[in-house]
Subunit: 482 residues, 2 copies
């Protein structure tokens, strides 16, 4: 089976039939059509409804059989008991690809499982590829495609593709990314019960998708472990793959079986497969998105040596702990850097990496201190990446996007990230937006920032054998002789 | 030394002299006076400045010696090199308590350490208690006291007191709590270099403070380990103590020594002392505040059995994993609960705990489904606490504060929390505010919500020997017979 071709209809169809399309706002069969219009789908949309003449300005058709041509993709917004009949119609109409949003199949006990077997038997005989049942749909921003049954606003285009065993990706999570994470999306697929299309199909497809630069995947367990190991390793060799695997505990495994009726191997087996593949295992969605934006926006660091600048001493201490946890080191800085930093700080202030610049803020103000210290540390040849920590108080106002712009212009090869620790909530939203619209990841803690830098760094090291070897921690504090 | 009395002047003075008070907005010596006025301090404020006649409408005095009476508390907003001289003036004026905001003492190498020893020698001979150097100050909402050198808005009053080795507590963190965490503050103390007053003084004071119901503390290491072990255990016996200890790694320990010049024992020793004390160790500020609001707002659960309701299957799976990690179980629900839930869900939908209610949302809408299922599970006698998971999409709009109000009226004895998973950023802010102004903790993930419930539960179990023993996980899925 040519997976590449089969996936094409789910992401880049020339025509989509929405069976069960509805004139009633709020119904899934209306929402899909609205989403396709919102995203600006370039192909043909065929609403199918036995009685409606027009839906959202588009001509509707009473049945699949009466469409002007066979659609590339059918989205079946029908009650679960009508799904088998529809699948027969699809076979008759030579449809090759169907998305089934309805739940109540293998996710709902033995009766549901039998129903799913019936539907899939028909699909399989006709060579129809199926996403679902229990799938919220797909998105491809490059084609203006959005088959979600949940209302979406047009998503920002980018290179991150996400897929997995949850409808959240094409509903709540898509909205969250668009309004709060600020990175751009390429493709989304919600796999639902995975009666046919599963993680392996998506990994194989996205590994070769030129528009996908970063992959985020969520799974509760796979059926074909060997193919999974191969597909994961292949995708991870091509681009960063951020993999979240739940069902780590016995209770979690039971809840998962109830969710989509999938079976799964032991946690140890998964841990080994993921480790070997080169994929980056993330614990939760927060970590997935924290890392996704770092990979999407930042260059690969040349090594694991990070320079840290903090308005507060606690930021330095937490960064030191977190660096050690995430495989990074904070190297001693060069004498020239020390001299450059001294200009921005009172004469008695200790100068080191991590740099606690509170004394400078008090004497020279936030703008001047951050600029001078950040530019000195960015220039230091022993620093591969930068973390700037801010606390959002009236005393620390400055043009933060301009600050990062300067660093990036001087050192485009060094990834630089921000941590916004505490402070005013509204100021937090403003700063995050200012930074992230400029492609600078802004995290809520030094720990989160360094976790993302650590992921960048291990990926860079794994994929580029010419990378310098890891440095281990040694510290020198530079104090003015007295 | 009577610690209780000594601490009184730092939190509840009848008069405060601000030495180095300034007419210039933005200077620390102006900000403190402004903060005291903003918070509505009921005692006398004496700005001290050699030349100023009036500062922010208050009469200023040229020197400590010329004040109408000896102030209870002096805040010394002076350059570090003038601090020793001031301490002599304080001794002469019979001042008993001094806060030193200036940095550049033991936080700045050998010369700074000598300077600190000089200042502390004078203080000690005169019996003066000192907070700092390098202390941002104290807050007591009950007395309208705010000696922070960073601009604050008046904080919401409540029962949570926080203190430790960071100026963030009386600056960025105070602002963050006030604008984003929504719980009320009783007292704050920033201990700085801890040349005199340290964690032990604060633990002893807050253990007996009737206005403090929950304690949050941050430390990078203590000097007197035995007194710390006693003070921590005493405070933890009186109320929940959430303790964050950094410097876990070798690098972190070195950064800490540079931050405030403190020495510290090994990580293993701390881990043992904290474990034995009954304090709750938290990993970061996020966990501290997540737990603080749960303890401040919620009743103690009767046991560790949690009922989980989720709009999405992934919420159920993540909750199952997190429950196991945090010592909670999701018990099978009673037959009567199953019957009550069936009314809100399609006949084919599986009914269990955790409850995935997406099918109900599609058929009956969010409002009706959440209400019916939450009320059924809250009524179940085998459930001790509740977690409701929401995804903020247009399809799930409902009056969420009213929903929790209903649960709380019916079962005031069962703590109930919310997880707001993904969705629209602005909707997230609105829902969080609606819930938290009503005293319902709203977390951004099921994992964070269950971590807080787990902390409530272990605390309840430890402090109430009559609590039923922990239940271990067994699961039964109730499916309609077919």
């Amino acid at each position: 089976m040519d997976t590449g071709d089969s996936m094409k209809a789910f992401f880049d169809p020339t025509s989509v039939a929405v069976v069960g399309a509805s004139r009633a706002a709020g119904k899934g069969g209306n929402t899909i059509v609205a989403n396709m219009l919102e995203f600006g789908f370039g192909g043909r949309i065929y609403p199918v409804n036995p009685s409606a003449g027009e839906i959202l300005g588009l001509q509707a058709y009473p049945s699949l059989a009466e469409l002007p041509d066979a659609p590339d993709l059918v989205v079946a917004v029908l009650p679960r008991l009508q799904t088998a009949e529809l699948m027969k119609d699809c076979a008759a109409a030579h449809v090759g690809s169907v998305i089934i949003p309805a739940a109540g199949f293998s996710d709902a006990g033995d009766e549901g499982r039998r129903l799913q077997d019936d539907v899939m038997g028909i699909a399989s005989s006709a060579g129809i590829r199926v996403m679902g049942p229990n799938s919220i749909g797909t998105v491809n921003t490059g084609a203006g495609l959005a088959t979600s049954i949940v209302t979406l606003e047009r998503l920002k285009e980018g290179g991150v593709s996400i897929f997995g065993q949850t409808g959240m990706f094409a509903s709540g999570i898509a909205r969250w990314i668009n309004t709060s994470e600020h990175f751009g999306i390429r493709k989304i697929a919600c796999l639902g019960n995975k009666a046919d299309i599963d993680e392996n199909d998506l990994l194989e497809h996205l590994a070769d998708d030129p528009g996908t630069r970063v992959i985020g995947a969520y799974t509760e367990g796979v059926r074909d472990g060997e193919r999974f190991a191969r597909a994961l390793a292949r995708a991870a060799a091509a681009k960063p793959v951020l993999l979240m695997k739940s069902g780590r505990t016995e209770t979690g495994r039971r809840a998962r079986e109830s969710h989509t009726g999938a079976l799964a191997g032991s946690e140890q087996v998964y841990a080994g497969v993921i480790e070997q593949s080169g994929a980056i295992r993330v614990d939760d969605f927060e970590e997935m998105f924290d890392c996704a934006k770092a990979f999407e926006w930042l260059p690969a660091p040349r090594g694991n040596r990070v320079g840290v600048i903090s308005i507060t001493g606690v930021g330095c201490v937490l960064s030191a702990d977190a660096s050690a946890v995430h495989g990074l080191v904070m190297p001693p800085i060069a004498d020239s850097t020390v001299e450059a930093m001294r200009g921005a700080l009172p004469e008695w202030a200790p100068v080191s990496n991590p740099a606690d610049i509170w004394a400078g803020i008090e004497s020279s103000g936030a703008e001047a201190t951050y600029r001078a210290v950040a530019s000195a540390i960015a220039d230091d040849p022993s620093v591969d990446s930068l973390l700037l920590i801010f606390t959002l108080i009236p005393e620390s106002r400055l043009d933060v996007a301009a600050l990062f712009d300067e660093i990036r212009s001087a050192h485009p090869e060094k990834p630089a990230v921000a941590a916004l620790m505490a402070g005013e909530a509204t100021m937090h939203v403003e700063w995050k937006e200012a930074l992230e619209s400029a492609g600078v990841p802004a995290y809520t803690s030094p720990e989160r920032a360094l976790r993302a830098l650590g992921a960048l760094c291990s990926y860079a090291k794994r994929t580029d054998p010419l990378n310098p070897p890891e440095v281990h921690q040694t510290t020198t504090h530079h104090r003015r002789k007295t």
